[in-house]
Symmetry: T
Subunit: 144 residues, 12 copies
């Protein structure tokens, strides 16, 4: 059974409450429930982690790198400057997908470049909570 | 029944033959067959178009904008400079998804920014032909 | 009788339908009718051409360079990157006026510079269809 | 009867004498006479003002903002750096047209961007004294 | 009674000891005492928090967002790169004031831009501990 | 009794009328009345000056540098390019506070840097007319 | 017998007529005749193609990639922005030489960088029609 | 007898008092006396003008352009941004020398480029009041 | 006996496992053992700390600043953006040496600048675990 | 009989030994022999010079400028920064061709611009030792 | 008796012959004769040195630093990139004046910045051979 | 016995005399004596070379590349622009260490990037003459 880490970066704890026009009305709890349900359907196992702390995310990825087969990560604003997170994604060597709720290409200038995506297999952005679900399906299909 | 335009930009006609380490071994014909098959499964209708011509792509999108409900587009290298294509995607007003076979965030500097994605709903990149299939599933699910 | 080429660049075929707040409600057919009417009044002859194709516009300008006395061109998004169009305008050596429906100086950063205007006599922007009419009057008055 | 402010920025007092290849041989007095004549023909009233002083221009626009219906302004070199003039044009809220005698897009790099045009309705450049006359006709036609 | 969060960012724990010519000789404990005293005078309630951890500051702001009416934050060096903190300040939706002990406009190039201030109501910088006190008076006066 | 110069830069004469969503509805006369009232309360003496002229502001500061103990200045758009004003503030050697009605860090790109603030003690921005009042209290408290 | 594609990009159809001081007086027909003559001498076979259309050039290169052993291309202004042409040259995998009539290093800033040359074996520029002839000799000598 | 305009730009009225380590202790009156004395020795006639107003300087140069044979100008901070002054120096067509008291190449980054020097014959900087005297000798020697 | 802090930044916990071609095969435990051994030989005392958390590193340096005489720090990816760490190194005022396992000057563009090194005495990079040992010898020799 | 200078810049003495994948296996002696042989065939006379010294190359070009009819120069790394060499090539006024063994457009970013080519007639790059031979043929054919 | 080094940088040996419109018709020998004559008049002693070699100039300045009281240097193109020469001028600690024959502020973009002038007392440019003579007078007057 | 080249770049001949606060009081002779003494202790053989000439350094490295096992180089100001030296270090293929007396990361902007370090194994900067000694120990330990 495939094992997947789901990482929610800074401020995703406020999902549903924070700028709903940009990020939608689904809360993080609801998103996680959707992910768990989809995981059961796809017969994959999840560990879900949210943190506002760059260091905590790196610790989590490092600690779980042996358990996991793949990573789905929404680095939040860390996308745009956390070279330490980028290095971590390279260092653990797991296939990773970067997801974003909003279409970062259509927002402020500083949101249009991602320093973390270069250490991932690919990127899915702009589809709200569906960005995560597509990534999950993608990884579930991937040969172990 | 939902109607979707699939647009393959410049040099995608050489798929399967062109730098297979970057773009994979599937040919465009095979990719289109996969898309048609998936479309039948999802009960959506497709019009597929490949062109090496920026103008032809704009003409196609303009001509089919009334027929279609949505667009999947891999603009190829036009991604990085075709403001005319960007304007076209804005002008026709259909929900569009930009897809890329390779993870453009991990390639040459000039491939890391997309001028067309700002006129799309979102972007899926890095999953080879699966990038298209995920986009198709995404649009099939979207409420008409 | 003076002979003038009118060139409408990419996406101007959607005029009237496309983002009417920015570009107005007049369709291209209506704009062309206005131009023909004004041309009759000013006793100048027109050839009008719209294309979404950079190459087609260059072909048209090249083919008609002997027939024409002057050019009015709205290069659309090509304004901002088509060095080939710029070279063409220089190469044919006709007096040309660049027109824009919207005030490009007040829009997105990338719309604030024109690479084609350097090969024209001047630029008129921001007055909707009146931008074309002013250019026409300007050229009609110019000594042949 | 429509009321229009005509503002000539720095160094336009030397018109006719200053680099005639770039700016033409018409003097400012002659230009103003042409404008007055055209205004009579178009049945609009003018107040004409030339100053080499950014502050004086702002004072003039501020003082006359209630009297006037519209503005024609050639900001001269202030075009490229006077954010104060830009703010003034925004603050008074009148429709304004920026005019230039020469085609600023074909001159030195620093003349290719306008900070003031963003606070105007549009821009006409490159037609010598005709740039002003076109602007006048344009404003005369505009509904009050 | 109005409730205000006071956040001291990285390295402010060393206040009084660290480069006293730039930051003054008042220690953080003394600054906090001044703030508490002023809060009693103004009849507002404070929660004061210092952390060298970006994540801890985001957690604190998130946790206290319901309790608080407003925020005073000195993000320290995070001012210049913490997009996560900026997003947090936007996400919690409380009126915030960014304060700095030193006049950041007169220091190294990299200290002259603030990525966090865009998510605040305003900024007060350069007045030593008085920057905080002014912010406190400002918020105390603001209608709840 | 402490003596303070209050300088309002270009376009502040239109306060209350100009883009009230950004700058508020208080007129300059009302602002000055508030400042005078507060000055009486704080027992400081004011000289207030508004000008749309960079040169006039420099003249005023130069002429009054012996009379005054401190300066409060809102340079308006001069903030972003008037190196002459910056040099003047350095040259007269008085403690100065730069104030802004709006939060310039949250507006257009070109408003985010201040060339004049480097010659001041500090900056207060974003609090409407309160920005001036805070600066006044600040200077009133400062030891002469 | 070696087979070589000769591609003339946008505006080269006007050769001989267009800015003769920069590009010389030889027409395209004369240049092609020279190339055919030299090809006979060198015993290589040519297919010559001129187009003002980026897409047409990509189509031509794609269609003839099996027939040809090598490519000589003068991309005209496309040199400086056509990433699609660059990708095409990489995709077809033939040895290519980029040629220019004029010395692009000594012209306008924007002509000094080539995005297409990186996908070629080398570049010959500045020798008028001789640039093509040298390239032809070069390829004729190359081992098949 | 040769006639020379001496122009002192913004803040030079404070010479001797302003940052004496950078600008020296000589006052403007003393500098002018030195210039007058040297002019008598060299048998040239001077008109000396100091202003903090860009516009006033342009007015002065424009008004005196017929009287004068040459110009010595220290534009102060206007050196770095006054395109209007640059245009004025070009427009009046007199030989001009730009002088600076301090060595601007060794000061802040923004002081290292001069937009006005391009419209002068040459530049002398770094020698305190001697910069003016050298310029005067230079112009006195020049053939009328 | 001299006391030295050794700080390993983000992702150094994966040493030996992470991209061994770049970082070598020595694990962090082995590196620390080497450092302890060398410290005994040099008769200096060490406190060694690894963290993926910028804030934790700042806390550690702050807490131990009185105990320690010097610092050896490998900030990992924080090297390139952690202004907070830079401020901390300045604030604690201890002599510090920045070390890197790899030669950062020969890697990706973003690794070629260090924001933290400016707050250190010097930098040693490119010698694998020897970078640390050299730093240790260096500090051991330094006069207390 | 035409006389040609051949200049090999820094590090070309190591040809054949230095990074043979980039620069080929031919030694400088072999290259020079090839050039001499070709020169005899073409009936031109050569002076060949290699130096690692920018100054020595300038001296050589200066000393031989009267003897020579033309120059072939491979400036090596000086291509990218030696403005002195560029000035020398302009100053001596001989037709010059810049040659490169490798295709500099496909290498590191800093190798993509040439400061010296602007002072040459043209550039040939990417063909190994053939770059020199083509240049030689080119110059031999040129009318004296 | 004051002792002054005169240094002529690369390509100044060609003076009189090289682009006479820019650099004048005086040869280096004639310039040196003028300098010697003026030196006798001013009772200063000269050592004059011309070299196309950056290193030779540094050697000369280093060797003569004890003998000399001051330096006049025209670094030619080294002005724009020779950080080694800049360091040398700083290192020897003599007062130096940078001179240029042409007005570098009015030439190509790359000639507008000087890296060497920051290590000099001042700069005189644009007056042909008079630039040197003014510098000489300047240094002769300076107190030893 | 290991053989090591020690190269001192421009202006290092003035060591001890030149800006002693930055570079220390040790002269080059003293430094070389220290290096020789340490070499004897470490049983390695040295050839030491100082030159202000880029070309001489390249010649020396080229000439001694067969004799030597490794290189220690302080390129002085050449560090920041000598691409020729960088190419030389790559070409000779010996392990090299770049050393600096001062901490270049804490000095002027232009000293913060090294173009030569990319061709070295590593860099040691900021420790005065100790930078060289550490490099020597490092190379002595390296397996031949």
């Amino acid at each position: 059974m495939k094992k997947i880490l789901i990482v929610h970066g800074p401020n995703l704890g406020l999902l549903g409450e924070r700028e709903p026009k940009v990020y939608g009305k689904t809360t993080l709890a609801q998103l996680n429930a959707l992910l768990e349900k989809e995981a059961r359907r796809l017969k994959v196992e999840l560990k879900i982690f949210q943190s506002n702390w760059e260091g905590a995310i790196i610790d989590f990825l490092t600690a779980e790198r042996k358990w996991a087969d793949a990573v789905i990560i929404n680095p939040g604003a860390l996308t745009h400057y956390s070279l330490a997170l980028r290095d971590c994604l390279s260092a653990i060597g797991l296939p990773a997908i970067e997801v974003h709720l909003s279409n970062i290409a259509a927002r402020e200038e500083f949101r249009r470049t991602s320093v973390t995506a270069a250490a991932c297999r690919g990127q899915i952005s702009g589809f709200g909570v569906r960005s995560y679900l597509l990534a999950l399906q993608m990884l579930a299909d991937m040969k172990k």
